[in-house]
Subunit: 249 residues, 2 copies
Amino acid sequence: MTDPAAITAAILVIGDEILSGRTKDKNIGTIADYCTAVGIDLREVRIVPDEADKIVAAVNALRADHTYVFTTGGIGPTHDDITADCVAAAFGVSIDVDPRAKAMLLERHKPEDLNEARLRMARIPAGADLIANPISKAPGFRIGNVFVMAGVPAIMQAMLDAIGPTLETGARVLSETIEAGNLPEGQYAAGLSALAKAHAAVSIGSYPSMTQNGFANRIVVRGKDAAAVEAARSAVAALVTELRDGTAG
Amino acid sequence: MTDPAAITAAILVIGDEILSGRTKDKNIGTIADYCTAVGIDLREVRIVPDEADKIVAAVNALRADHTYVFTTGGIGPTHDDITADCVAAAFGVSIDVDPRAKAMLLERHKPEDLNEARLRMARIPAGADLIANPISKAPGFRIGNVFVMAGVPAIMQAMLDAIGPTLETGARVLSETIEAGNLPEGQYAAGLSALAKAHAAVSIGSYPSMTQNGFANRIVVRGKDAAAVEAARSAVAALVTELRDGTAG
C-alpha cells in the first residue's frame, strides 16, 4: 500500500519524563488520529531524552525522511527546555528572542514579569513561523518541514488545531473493521494471508486483544481506494462467516 | 547525570495499528516504569510500521547503541506478523520452526489444530532463547541483546516478568517530586537553573500539567546518589517555599 505520492509524517517526542515513565505520553495517539483523519501517513515515532545531541540527530534524521515532523515537549521556560535551541542547531540557523513571540507573551504577562526565563519562550530560530498558543500564549513554531509544539496535551492539541489548515494532506486512508471475536487468529491466518495477496491495493491487519472472556480479535482493512477497501472487507467478512459456521477446514 | 557504566535500553514498537492511531500503545509506559524501578536507563523509543526494511534498520540501530532492546508486536500467526523474520535478518541468522517453541504451542493446541499459520509462531531465529508466554503459549525470544515480546499488553507484561530476573540492572535512579502547584514556571526557572548547575550530580526537570484550575507544576529531582538527590530536593523545596512566601524577587 506504499504510495510514493503520500504525504508522510513523523513524531519526535522530547522528554526525560516520558522515558522515565513518570509521564505517560498522550500526544502520540492524538497526532496519529489526526494524521489518519486528514490523509497524512504517520510513518515513524521517536522518543528521545532532553539531550541536545540526541534531539538534533533525531530532528535531522526525521526531517530528511518525511513530509512533516511534529515535535512535542521542551519549549517551556526552564533550563531543561532545550528544544528550540536544538532545532535551530539542526537547521544551522541562529536563535534569538523574536519580537512577535515576545508580543504574544506580553498578552499574558506584565512587562515587569517578563523575566529572562520567560523570555526564553520567545527564543525562536531565525526564519521560523510562529504557532499560536491560545492557552498560555508561549508559541510553538514551524521551520522548514518541522513543527515544534508544546508537550502539555491541551496546548499541543490547540497548536495542532492551529497548524492543521496549513498542512498539505493526501488521500484519506479508509478503514473497515471486521470483528472476528473469539475466532482464533491461527484459524483464519491462512485464509487471510491469501486474501491479503489477492487484494494487494489494501493492507489487511489482524489485531488480537484480550478481554475477561479471552481473545477478541479484529481484522482491519485499510486503503485509499473505496472500491478496493469494500471488496477486501467483503471478502474478509465472508471468510470469517465461513469459518464461524464451521463449513471450512 | 550521564553514567558511562549505566545499563541502557531502547524500546521498538512494531505495528501499523499504533501509527494509525487505531490502537493506543500501553507498553511503552509499562516498560518505562519497569526500567526505572530496576535501574535500567531507558534512552530511546521508536515506533515503526509493519515493513521489513524499517524493522531491520531500527533493530540494528538500537541494538548497537544500547545494552538491551525490547520489541513489542508482530509475533502472531498472521501474514502481517513479520517481527521474528526481521530480527533474524537483522542478526544475519536463519529462522525455522523451533522444536521447543512447537512444544509450547502443543500445550494449547491439539496436534491436528497446529496448522501452518500457528506454526509461524514457533519460527524462532537460530541461536535465540525462548521467553515463556503463560497466557497464550506462543513464546517470545531473546537473541543477543534483543528481547522480542508480544504486543498484547497482558502478554507483554507476562513476558517482561519472565525476562526481568535475567536482566543486568544498574543503580536505581532515585526520584523526588516537589509540588510547585500554581507557582508559575517562569517565576522559578531562573532559581531552578542555578540549582541545576549547583547540583550537577542530579538532573532536575520541571513538568507543567494543566488542571481545571490552571497549571499544576511539579519539579522532579533524579539521581543515583541518595545524598545528592536529598540535597537537591531540599534546595528546590526551599526555593519554592521562598517564592511562594513572596520573599524573593
